[in-house]
């Protein structure tokens, strides 16, 4: 039976005890009485063993990359190497204070500096900030830079163009920067429709936000033409780095003509997702935008590393201190072990694995855009829906085979979308098993759709009532 930790509380028991203060103390002497707490804190009272059992047993109710295949599209759930965890847990990285003197943090600053340099090479742009904490945070940072750049130039540009296949964070981020969003439809090939783009492109447009490969897993082949169009109109081109895992060492946003890029270290550079975070979303920009970056950036002078706050047009800070440093350590370690050949091979294998799955599944599930894909592809469960089971039903059934479902119902432009991203760290055996399972589910749907609809059967809970959760919100234990 599910018990909340508060229900397990046994008053009077405790876990960790701290030593005595060693000095007398009377708070009433210093603090106004009407501010002092009277009642006991409302927290559970448990032994350490109680706590361990509670959380370890909870963990067993999760799927994770270390336990199952996790082909969640757009999330790049690749294996997270343990050497990266080891590195991040070193005392000299864990127990350093952001306000300590730069001279006592040279190792940390060197790591940040070198990571900035690596990201410059990988993105093909000129300057990097490691400050943003996540992909969406990077988008916000990047679009603020765009806003500030045009303001400094004295141009009033109020609109941002975003394709209808984009991640939801793109319009949300641009909106937080005060931009109006202009959505453009994709063409029949699943790509940015150049004619549609031309129609909306005017002097009010500040930028186009794109993902390349896009969320359908398709490479935007006309990227150079798009880049030229945008730049001829005086606008900038923003690259959402969510799908960078497809192109490392093959091409880069700089070569494609992008001006601002964010990189998801927790996707491409293999830092663990932690059940939803922490991530890191460094931003790279072209030279003319370099002094708009958040401060500080790591810099080097006479073999000494320091934090440079002296950026003339900086947008300020988007987070306290310097970024999710622990995540940066992991990504740095990953780049170090993979090296240039390893990163390129990672992208090649990611693309190979995706194409392999796509070709092996397209006879069983609709493939709306039947073309060469990059690191991921999108199937449609339209056919299966007519037979009685939709994409969500298939997703739930996969759980019974110990496979995490793909991303479903995204991108929005595909009916009954199932977005599949195997990543490069999965073996042929794992992929073949996934193919077998997906084919089997298709057969089940034809023979016994009710069985599939009842799934999942093997998980710790059966299908969860999300409607009830929203109608009668119960958001805390009382």
């Amino acid at each position: 039976m599910t018990q909340i930790i508060f229900e397990k509380s046994r008053p009077g028991t405790r876990g960790v005890k701290l030593p005595d203060a060693g000095v007398e103390h009377n708070l009433n002497k210093y603090l106004p009485e009407n501010l002092l707490k009277e009642e006991k804190l409302d927290l559970p009272e448990l032994t350490e063993l109680d706590v361990m059992r509670h959380f370890i047993n909870l963990s067993r109710k999760n799927f994770s990359v270390d336990t199952v295949f996790y082909p969640l599209g757009s999330c790049t759930m690749k294996y997270n190497p343990k050497i990266n965890e080891y590195a991040a847990s070193l005392d000299g990285f864990l127990n350093i204070h952001p306000n300590q003197d730069e001279g006592t943090a040279q190792g940390a600053l060197q790591l940040m500096y070198e990571l900035q340099e690596y990201l410059k090479i990988i993105t093909g742009l000129d300057a990097v900030s490691l400050q943003p904490s996540a992909g969406a945070h990077g988008e916000f940072t990047g679009m603020l830079i765009v806003k500030s750049y045009f303001e400094k130039k004295g141009e009033k540009r109020t609109k941002v163009i975003i394709p209808d296949s984009a991640h939801g964070t793109n319009p949300a981020s641009a909106k937080m920067c005060g931009f109006d969003i202009v959505e453009i439809k994709s063409n029949s090939k699943g790509l940015v429709d150049i004619e549609e783009l031309k129609k909306v492109l005017d002097n009010d447009v500040a930028a186009l936000m794109m993902t390349n490969p896009n969320t359908l897993g398709l490479f935007e082949e006309n990227i150079q033409e798009i880049s030229k169009l945008m730049h001829d109109a005086g606008a900038l081109l923003y690259y959402d780095g969510a799908n960078l895992n497809a192109i490392m060492g093959i091409t880069n946003p700089g070569l494609m003509g992008f001006d601002v890029v964010h990189v998801n270290l927790h996707k491409t550079f293999s830092t663990p997702h932690g059940g939803g975070g922490p991530g890191a979303g460094p931003v790279a920009v072209v030279e003319k935008l370099a002094d708009f970056l958040p401060v500080p950036v790591a810099a080097k002078k006479n073999n000494t590393y320091y934090l440079n706050y002296d950026l003339k047009n900086t947008i300020g800070k988007v987070k306290a201190f310097y970024g999710n440093f622990g995540v940066l350590v992991r990504a740095y370690t990953y780049i170090l072990t993979m090296g240039k050949e390893g990163l390129k091979k990672a992208s090649e294998d990611a693309v190979l694995n995706a194409n392999y799955l796509k070709e092996k599944l397209k006879d069983y599930y609709d493939l709306p855009y039947d073309r060469l894909c990059m690191h991921e592809f999108v199937l449609s469960a339209d056919k299966q829906k007519h037979e009685g089971v939709n994409a969500l039903g298939i997703a739930k059934r996969l759980m019974d085979f110990d496979i995490h479902p793909p991303t479903v119902y995204f991108p929005l432009i595909v009916h009954e979308a199932m977005m599949i991203e195997p990543t490069e760290t999965e073996s042929k055996e794992t992929l073949d098993n996934f193919i077998d399972v997906m084919r089997k589910i298709n057969t089940e749907i034809q023979n016994d759709p009710a069985l599939v609809q009842e799934s999942p059967l093997k998980t710790s809970v059966s299908k969860v009532d999300e409607t009830l959760a929203a109608r009668q919100p119960n958001l805390r234990w009382k």
Binding site: V16, K61, M77, T104, A172, F321, T337, L352, R476
Partner: protein
């Protein structure tokens, strides 16, 4: 064979052949040649073995002075506190560490129940009705709360206390620039917000930190009154360790309570990853940013958890979302939940009172040393030391650093009002012997009068 890549060349060839390709190159035929990398300019280093990586990283780490190898009195919103051993074991558990955002509740009940319990604990400690699953840090929590208040009140001006963490101030400013919100500041008097000087205006919110960056408690009841009379939302940023000593922000009228969870069992890690919490009264729930977990039932009537109220979020509402946040700091929220569980009410109280007792002990000692003055006494575990103008605070800090003492944060470039001042912090990690050593070192330096700059 490269690290973490399972395919042999033979397997690659087999797979390519099965799907009708001749070479890997064919998979990239849709990328125009002239934007392809020429191998020569993909100029990253060659990969190294795990053993070599370990050596390199150990070397870098050893070039930093760890707080565990010195006497540190650094605080300023980021605290060196005791991290119970079991937290590491739990957050390194693969099922927590290597899972994604719990979009699929049936295979994420672990993460979801943790978030629910985390939300419950945040509510209990703040007195609020609801909390989200976390934002990036205390600074972004403040910024998001200001935006939230602006949406609730449909006002576009915010009043911020000058006594809040200067890093937070910067981040709020950046977010407000994005949304076009103007900011006014409450001036300082005696280390806290000058309540005589609070302007009454059409503010969306008044945001204070309590205890504030300088360690002192604010006149919260008076500020709360101003909020009420001007219909501004009262946002309180707080360190939850202080909730073991001080009344909960709800009891003095807070509408939204925010802060950083780093002090709850998270390592400092050079400033991140930490985590921000946002809690609010029920009536503002629909305006809260980020993930929220809720308790519900499964089809068999069993208790289950799921992400809920998702129509506020970017993946559903896109440009109309309450925030763009997607990834948050879930693992850090887990660490905080474990911390609060294993410390319990008594442990948290101990952390707060030991810190406070020893901080006041140090303050009294410093106050007795000629050349130093503790400016304000109404603090919990952080306080401002004014160094006599005869000496330079920065030189003093440097000299103490030579003796392996990180004495505090210089306030010179943070507060015009507190030139030649140092912010000193004491936690349960500072033993009495270390505190005595710090005081003795101060005395020795000044008695030699060698600080003149």
């Amino acid at each position: 064979m490269y690290n973490y890549l399972p395919h042999t060349d033979q397997i690659r060839e087999e797979m390519l052949k099965e799907i009708g390709f001749k070479s890997v190159e064919d998979l990239f035929s849709n990328i125009n040649r002239n934007i392809r990398f020429d191998n020569s300019n993909f100029d990253l280093p060659e990969g190294v073995s795990e053993l070599e990586a370990k050596e390199k990283l150990s070397e870098l780490a050893s070039n930093n002075l760890s707080l565990s190898d010195c006497l540190s009195f650094l605080g300023g919103g980021t605290y060196y506190r005791y991290v119970p051993a079991c937290i590491g074991t739990i957050i390194e558990r693969s099922e927590f560490l290597t899972s994604y955002t719990p979009y699929q509740p049936e295979v994420s009940q672990g993460t979801l129940q943790v978030i629910y319990e985390y939300q419950s604990m945040i509510c209990n400690l703040t007195g609020m009705d609801a909390a989200n699953a976390s934002v990036y840090d205390g600074a972004t929590a403040c910024a998001e709360a200001v935006l939230m208040a602006a949406r609730i009140t449909k006002r576009s001006k915010a009043l911020i206390a000058s006594s809040i963490n200067p890093e937070y101030k910067e981040v709020i400013k950046t977010y407000c620039y994005g949304e076009g919100i103007d900011i006014d500041y409450i001036s300082l008097k005696n280390g806290k917000s000058d309540i005589e000087n609070i302007k009454q205006d059409e503010y969306a919110c008044i945001l204070i930190q309590n205890p504030n960056y300088l360690g002192s408690v604010e006149d919260v009841f008076e500020i709360s009154e101003v909020c009420k009379s001007s219909k501004a939302k009262f946002i309180v940023c707080t360190d939850l360790i202080s909730s073991a000593i001080l009344k909960r922000p709800a009891s003095y009228g807070a509408d939204i309570v925010v802060g950083d969870i780093q002090s709850l069992g998270l390592p400092i890690a050079f400033g991140g990853p930490h985590g921000g919490f946002i809690a609010c009264r029920t009536e503002y729930l629909r305006q809260i940013p980020g993930r929220i977990a809720g308790m519900t039932k499964d089809l068999d009537g069993k208790t289950a958890f799921t992400l809920t109220l998702q129509t506020r979020e970017q993946h559903i509402r896109r440009a109309k979302a309450t925030s763009n946040i997607c990834s948050n700091q879930a693992l850090m929220a887990l660490a905080a939940t474990v911390y609060l569980s294993v410390m319990g009410p008594e442990g948290l109280k101990e952390a707060a009172t030991i810190s406070s007792a020893r901080a006041h002990y140090l303050a009294e000692k410093i106050n007795k040393i000629p050349g130093f003055k503790v400016l304000f006494n109404d603090f919990l575990y952080e306080f401002v030391v004014k160094v006599d103008d005869e000496f330079s605070a920065k030189d003093l800090l440097n000299q103490l650093k030579e003796q392996n003492i990180l004495a505090g944060i210089p306030l010179d470039d943070k507060f015009d009002e507190y030139k030649n001042c140092i912010l000193v912090c004491v936690t349960e990690m500072n033993h009495i012997s270390g505190i005595d050593k710090f005081a003795a070192a101060l005395e020795k330096i000044t008695s030699k009068c060698c600080l003149r700059s």
